[in-house]
Every structure is written in C-alpha cells, then in structure tokens.
C-alpha cells in the first residue's frame, strides 16, 4: 500500500550484493600467496604504498556522503499513509472524511460476527487516489467464506455512508490477536 518504489529496492539490493561479492572475492583471493604468485607476470604489486593526507580527507568525505545517502533512503521507505479517507472540493468548499469514520463503520458492521476477532482500517494515498486497507483478524478455526460475506455487507454500508466507492484492499489474516482469542468450540 505504501509508495515505496519496489524496483528501486530490488536494484539497490542487487547492486549492494554484487559489490559485496566482488569485494569479498577480491579480499579473499588477494591475500592468498598462490593467487599472488599466479598474478605476478601480469600484475606487479608495489612493495609500499603511502596513503597521502589529502586521500584521508577524501575517504572521510566519501564515507560521509554514503552515510547521508543511506540514511535518506532508509527514512524514505514506506510513507503514503494518510488520515483522510475522502476529500472533495467544490469551488471554495471542501469536505474531508477522516479515516476514523471508515473505521467506525467497518467496526460497527463487523462486531457480532463470531469468526472475526477484530479489524484495522488504514487509508493510503496510492497514485493520487485515496484507498483503504481493511485488515480483518480471523479467529483460529474461522471460516473465510462467512467472514468475506460479512465484509461485503460492511463495504456496502460503507459505500452508502460515503456516497461513493473508494478502492479497498481486504486482508484476512491471523496474527497475535487471534492466537490469544478463544477457538471455536461449538458450531
């Protein structure tokens, strides 16, 4: 649901993995005497390398840039969450519906369904459209079919309440809340 660019994630992981393998192989092979002897004709290693003072500052600078970029990327993962479920502008006026309303409608419609332990509603801005994710925690030994029927009824009520159909993702899941809930004992 988030706005994370997944292709970028993949490319980044691939590149770091590749760099890591190449560095590993170079270090691992480079310190072995047989490998050094084999490379002797084509590559002559200098006996002594002096690290100049400017190089130290360049190394430090490059490291600082790497750290800043890494932290920027880490903190820009995820995102796209919003608390506004619907926003409509007509001229000067603006109507916003908070996610709390959606949450209340869904909660109200789903209470009393035995197979449902609880539900969680979040709204996200996906491709400039507001979409809701409804996570429904199903009781252990619960039946997905009855749960889905109940969710459908809840969505119908939600559509009538909002007066429009917002895109929704329904996720039936277990999780810790269901692990603690009592199992069905009587049908």
């Amino acid at each position: 649901m988030t706005t994370t660019n997944r292709g970028f994630n993949r490319v980044l992981l691939f590149l770091i993995g590749l760099i890591s393998i190449i560095t590993g192989v170079t270090i691992g092979a480079g310190v072995l005497q047989p490998v050094r002897d084999a490379l002797q004709p084509s590559l002559t290693l200098p006996e002594q390398v002096t690290v100049p003072d400017q190089a130290l500052w360049i190394i430090a600078g490059v490291c600082a840039v790497v750290i800043v970029l890494a932290l920027i990327i880490v903190f820009t993962r995820g995102g796209g969450g919003t608390s506004v479920a619907v926003r409509e502008r007509t001229g000067e006026d603006q109507v916003t519906v908070n996610v709390a309303l959606v949450r209340d409608v869904i909660d109200h419609e789903l209470t009393g369904i035995h197979d449902i332990v609880g539900s969680k509603v979040d709204t996200y801005l996906v491709q400039k459209t507001r979409a809701a994710r409804i996570k429904v925690h199903v009781r252990r030994g619960g039946d997905a079919v009855t749960v889905l029927d109940a969710v459908d009824r809840a969505l119908t009520t939600l559509d009538q309440t909002l007066g429009r159909k917002i895109p929704v993702l329904v996720h039936l899941t277990g999780g810790t809340r269901t692990a603690l809930a009592r199992t069905t004992r009587v049908q």
Binding site: G142, V145, K165, P167, G174
Partner: protein, 191 residues
C-alpha cells in the same frame, strides 16, 4: 487510474513483499561500516590514535600479509560473499508472501494461506461431525490437504468430507478447492 486497476495493483503489492526491511537493514550496516572507515581516516588525518587500524597500516599489511591478517581477511571475505549472495537472492527472488488473491465484486481481497487452511479444516470438521481440534489442514497454492482424526466408533466418509471442503473453498472463487486431498487417521479418539 481506474478503481479496478488500482485494486489489482494493491492486491499484487500486498501479495509480494516490498523488501524495504532488507534494504533498511543493509543500508544501516553500510552506514556503520562507512562511519568506521571515515572515523579512522579522520583520526589519522588529525594525528590521533586509531580505533582498530589506520588506513596506512591496512594498506601496508594488505601488501605483505602475515598469517593473522590472512585469517581475518578470509573471514571478512567469506562473510561478504555470503551476505552478497543473500542480498542477490532477495533482489531477484519473487518475494511472494503466504497469501493468495481472491476475485471479488467489491474490493481487492487477499487471504493468508493460514486462513484458507483454517477454512478447509472448519468445513471438514462440520462434514465429518468431529470437533474442530480433530481436523487440521494445510494449503499450498491451490492444493489443500485435510487431515481428519475420527471419533472412535464413528466412521468418517472421506468423499463427503472432500466434497464439503471443495464446496466451501470454491465459494471463494478462482481455482480454490480444485485440488483437495483428505486423509483419515486409522485410530480414532474419544469424544
């Protein structure tokens, strides 16, 4: 983007993982390593004592390695190669989560495989007339395996159970319930 397209996209993105956690952990490690190298460089430049080894010492030892350095270098090299392989597998793998998408008129629906299995077990228990705890099910893709432990003295009709599970799962649409395998335990339990 239309609602259907958007919901399809949401469903697809919900079934596959984003790898953000992997990226975040990797980058934090990269940042820590960079911080260490940078600190060593700065400490050397301002003439302070190094934390572990200054860049000059590393360059000297790498050119003329001794036994201890070789061991350390091999361990680091092995760790880097293993890490690299894990990252590339993460990057190129499909990254599917144990969930499956369900076609529904309203909204995009994904169901955890555990819930599908629990639905199958539920239907089997109802059809076999045994308590819920006596049935277990596992689901993988569209295949579902159901295991029933009967109550002593009361036979279980395998076909009826299979039919019930198929019927229940097929109501989820798609190929669900197309392949159901029911096994009944030889020994029963007391009710």
């Amino acid at each position: 983007m239309s609602t259907e397209q958007l919901e399809k996209r949401l469903r697809r993105r919900s079934i596959h993982r984003s790898r953000s956690t992997a990226v975040a952990i990797t980058l934090v490690v990269v940042a820590l390593v960079a911080a260490w190298i940078g600190t060593e460089a700065v400490l050397k430049a301002i003439g302070q004592r190094p934390l572990l080894a200054d860049p000059q010492t590393v360059a000297d030892t790498a050119l003329n390695p001794d036994a201890a350095f070789t061991t350390i270098a091999e361990v680091i090299a092995a760790a880097l190669v293993i890490l690299g392989i894990i990252l590339i597998v993460l990057a190129l793998g499909p990254g599917r989560q144990p969930r499956s998408g369900i076609d529904r008129d309203r909204g995009a629906v994904v169901i955890d495989t555990r819930i599908l299995a629990s639905t199958a077990a539920n239907a089997a228990a109802l059809a076999a007339g045994v308590p819920e705890a006596n049935t277990s099910a596992s689901a993988r893709g569209h295949r579902t395996q159901v295991h029933v432990v009967p109550l002593s003295g009361i036979p279980v009709d395998t076909h009826a159970v299979e039919h019930a599970v198929q019927d229940r799962l097929s109501r989820l649409g798609g190929k669900h319930g197309s392949s159901v395998q029911v096994t009944v335990e030889q020994k029963g339990t007391l009710a």
